[in-house]
Subunit: 333 residues, 2 copies
């Protein structure tokens, strides 16, 4: 593959220059460039520079504000609401996460309800930020209809990611961040191109029949939730928490209101934080290390997030797809 | 099948008589008989009278206290801890759920951390009780090691059920209550008896290989989580919330401490409650009905909990397995 080595600083600066030249102010460009850089740092290429052209498209179309100034409201000591001012999600997190962490430390539990944001990044940064405060974090957001509920043949749910972080003082947290879709449509397209079957349950063909042929899913078919009707229930829960409970767009509403510029639609996000130090006994940390030791002692098991945290340790340049770098440069005057 | 028709009152009284004759006091027998009766009422036979012999076994062995008097502690305005006094879970819910509901109504969110209980019932009663207060409920509990984490071939996770209820004022809530195991070992045994294959991913044979032959899973093999590595992450989250966060036994610890009498081990339970009226806008209810209309408008989709709530409407006698009724009667002098 044709790649260009870029240091983490170069990745950050490339994103920052591109964003500011396309209408983002310093604060918004800082937050979003950091999100992009940390994704590349951790090896999450699909959430790194790859997303930048879509971010730029929505700045240019005016759908997303490059000078968003999110505002927080402390509704109760345990509940924080953030209005994202129709910017990208990371700057709303900068406003809301510290207040959420404070709430959870004081009361044992807190909720952050974010509205009027556009979220197209990974969901681990916000829960890892909570884990750095020795808090448990759980976050989810809907997207646009792409997944058929179990039993149905038409899309209604978004890919609806759900992330969770468990703090381990002095160590990297245990973190998962997963789409509740069986896989991304992009992965289905890659399987089609490479001639691999996908597992039964990944999706339906255009007639609504189960298929392992990725071409039949990509060509007018639909994705399914992971794990059959149980995963479908989790995908539904994400809609209810991040849209119903937050008072923002369900996936189907997000699509109805979107201008189709390729960037993320307006939506909300639900983030929960809890304090093991306050809820469990004093010894919570050692107690959980016993569990993690049992888990990692099993052959074949890797803790969720482990690979990403290992990638993070390297300060070597990252190999970035060269046509992508050229495309990003073409977005700057 | 050989069945005996019993009215809901007769089911309640049969359970109550059997429990009081085996060491339960009035309050404990009331709570547990109600749990058993409501399971039969809703058609959840596997959580109804079927569990009574195991409940009795643990009362007789002394593992579970029939005169448990759970005590609540209001740790913060948003956090309630209940010490179950080593009784069955339903009487701890009677103490804790009203305090949790009050916390969530006042602050938008509340956590109930229950320790020192023995839980072998369904998990929908506690979240439906929250939905009756127009609150969102989420609950989970570990059990005993029965499920191999994704990638492993040895059990570590319990069947680790997770339940969720979404309130619909004036209507039945939307409720799911599911094991994070692919299926119960009892269901695997039924498939073996009836000569059906089980889906790939249900479990492993005794050599750790994937199999669709239920005999190979039941005969020294192991169950897997639902939905592959994503479901495995959810099963891990249940261990962390209901054991790590509550400060109680992980599934593997529960087994180590259990006397093997066939009843449920000592463990904890995590219950979260949130108020849509406080977190979302005023119009939360209508907004969510729009989503449910879209969902039920898709061919092939049924809302989780719908079948149970339909069963509930009938006041006809329930058909109870006659050998089970005889076995229960034999447990009384």
């Amino acid at each position: 593959m044709n790649t260009t080595p870029l240091t983490l600083d170069e990745i950050y600066n490339l994103a920052h220059d591109c964003l500011t030249q396309n209408g983002a102010d310093q604060a918004n460009a800082d937050a979003l460039s950091n999100t992009i850089m940390t994704a590349e740092r951790d090896g999450s290429h699909s959430h790194g520079l790859f997303r930048l052209p879509a971010y730029v498209a929505s700045l240019r179309s005016g759908k997303v504000k490059g000078n968003a100034a999110p505002k927080a409201e402390q509704v109760t000591p345990a509940l924080v609401r953030v209005h994202g001012d129709n910017g990208y999600a990371p700057i709303a997190h900068e406003v809301g996460i510290p207040l959420l962490a404070e709430a959870a430390k004081n009361l044992g539990v807190g909720v952050l309800a974010i509205s009027h944001v556009h979220h197209m990044a990974a969901l681990w940064p916000e829960v890892e930020a909570l884990a750095e405060h020795n808090l448990v974090g759980l976050a989810c957001t809907p997207y646009m209809p792409a997944v058929a509920p179990a039993g149905a043949t038409k899309p209604l749910f978004g890919t609806n990611p759900l992330s969770f972080a468990w703090p381990r003082p002095g160590k990297s947290p245990v973190v998962f961040d997963m789409a509740t879709a069986s896989m991304a449509m992009g992965e289905v397209q890659i399987a089609a191109r490479e001639g691999h079957d996908v597992p039964m349950g990944t999706g339906l063909d255009k007639n609504g029949a189960m298929t392992t042929n990725p071409n039949e899913i990509a060509d007018g078919g639909v994705l399914l939730p992971f794990g059959g009707y149980k995963g479908s229930a989790i995908a539904m829960m994400v809609e209810l928490l991040a849209a119903g409970l937050v008072g923002e767009n369900f996936s189907f509403e997000a699509k109805e209101g979107d201008n189709g510029d390729g960037g993320p639609p307006q939506g909300g996000q639900f983030i929960l934080a809890m304090s093991p130090a306050m809820i469990a006994t004093d010894n919570w940390d050692d107690h959980c290390e016993g569990f993690f030791n049992k888990l990692t002692g099993l052959d074949g098991v890797r803790l969720p997030g482990e690979r990403r945290h290992k990638n993070r340790l390297s300060d070597a340049p990252r190999q970035i797809n060269t046509p992508l770098v050229e495309k990003i440069r073409s977005l700057m005057d």
